[in-house]
């Protein structure tokens, strides 16, 4: 798997970005550090939560909490590289998707992120 923070930091177009396909998420700067947003589901593509940590790095996971039905991009709490679901307080690592505490027992799917020409993309 490509390391998404490297990609995001360098902001260089990756070979994979073209070959695997990518989805436009937002313009760089739309998302302040410590914030998150949802890239809505589209056809085959599930909704994705895009996060920007305090260091300005972007990460992306599946948008829906693996416990019940809640959008982490819309409404959650980002603390460093951890996102907390506000419904029952499940915590996930946004870099690996790992479920860090109950009630989550299933990891979130993760997606790589690239920044190019001032735009942020989520790789499929």
């Amino acid at each position: 798997m490509t390391n998404s923070d490297d990609i995001a930091e360098k902001g260089t177009p990756m070979e994979t970005a073209q070959t695997i396909g990518r989805r436009f998420a937002c313009n760089e700067g739309d998302l302040a550090p410590g914030e998150s947003m949802t890239v809505p589901a589209d056809g085959e593509d599930i909704a994705v939560a895009l996060y920007r940590n305090d260091d300005g790095e972007y990460f992306a996971t599946a948008d829906t909490c693996t416990h019940e039905d809640w959008s982490l991009g819309e409404d959650s709490d980002l603390e460093g590289n951890e996102v907390v679901c506000p419904l029952h307080m499940a915590r996930f690592d946004i870099r690996s998707g790992e479920a860090l505490c109950f009630p989550a027992t299933i990891a979130l799917q993760t997606f790589d992120v690239v920044c190019e020409d001032g735009k942020v993309y989520v790789l499929r």
């Binding site: 959650s76 709490d77 506000p86 419904l87 029952h88 307080m89 009630p103 027992t105």
Partner: protein, 404 residues
Amino acid sequence: MNRIVVVGGSTGAVRSVQALRRAGYDGELVLVSDEAHLPYDRPPLSKDLLAPESDGSPVPLLTAEDVERLDLDVRLGTRAVGLEPANRTLHVVDDEGPSAIVYDGLVVATGVQPRRLPGTDHIDGVHVIRTLEDARAVRDRLGEGRRAVVVGAGFIGAEFASVARARGVEVTLVEAQEVPLAHVLGREVAAEVASVHEAQGARLMAGRSVAEVVTDQGQVRAVRLDDGTELPADLVVVGIGATPATDWLVGSGLPVDDGVECDVDLQVVGHPGIYAVGDVARWPHPAYGRPLRIEHWTNAGDQAEVVAAHVVGRDRPNVPLPYVWSDQYGHRIQIVGRPADGVAVAVHGSVAGGDLAALYAGPDGRLVGAVVVDDPRLLMRLRKAATAGTPAGEVERALLTPAS
């Protein structure tokens, strides 16, 4: 430890086995539950399961695949009846009669039992809501135009009233306190929360108690109150609190006094290798230092993580502040911290408006708790502020728009 036995069949027990495996414990793991089903989730019992859309199926908490994957020895329909810590022996009874299980480690997760109205045990139509069977029995009696009397307007009473109203049931709540949940939320906020009942067409009779449940051939017919009022009833739901399920520990020598007394690692005081988790455990929560027994769903998971860390010899994980939610009349009420440790110093918005936010300050002015309706993002910010002990005034200025 080679064999850990977990006694209980719900949130505390399930979180315990999950946390132990997640922490790397690879010994034998036995789960002893007196329930007939694999563990299911309790919160939906007074909410979604009673709604018209539900088919009465529970939300599983532990599936057959989980049992396999976690390599558990699950003994359903098996009741713990006694404990001999000196011989590390748990006595149980199932269909085949009594037997004994020897353990190296034990987790007590037997939760609480609902309090009942004295003398009403055998009356048809009088229900508590704790188990799947309870919830299904209540569900079978719901229907347009039926009359329900709810005794106790706490969490169960309020949630039941809200789904019952949605199904066209006539609802009257009888509550002993002048203001229901005042002991949790303080009078002002509790009154605001309770006001929703009347707004939704449920009648609230506060400061009243039940004198008699009137029956007709063993079937409930009415509820008579202390002031003589008689409320006709097809169904009575009793939600007047719960008591720790510790009868089976009598004679074991375990310290029991409104719950099993534990240290900060949830180890039962004076009994290394025996732990308690969930509603049944009384422990010095690290954020408070004094013994508390917390009857909230997330608490069981938080405590299970602490137990698992202790068993495998890891550092104690951070324990979050207490948290509880309740779904009433389409609104989600979220409570973080311990409002009862402070006084409400800022109350903005309303439940009906879906924007209630109440801040509670302790004696030193710091935020000790908050109640939020329909705004999970704000709740998370307040949770952070309460964890940090930020002065409530500062929090109000920063996070709550001034009331107009």
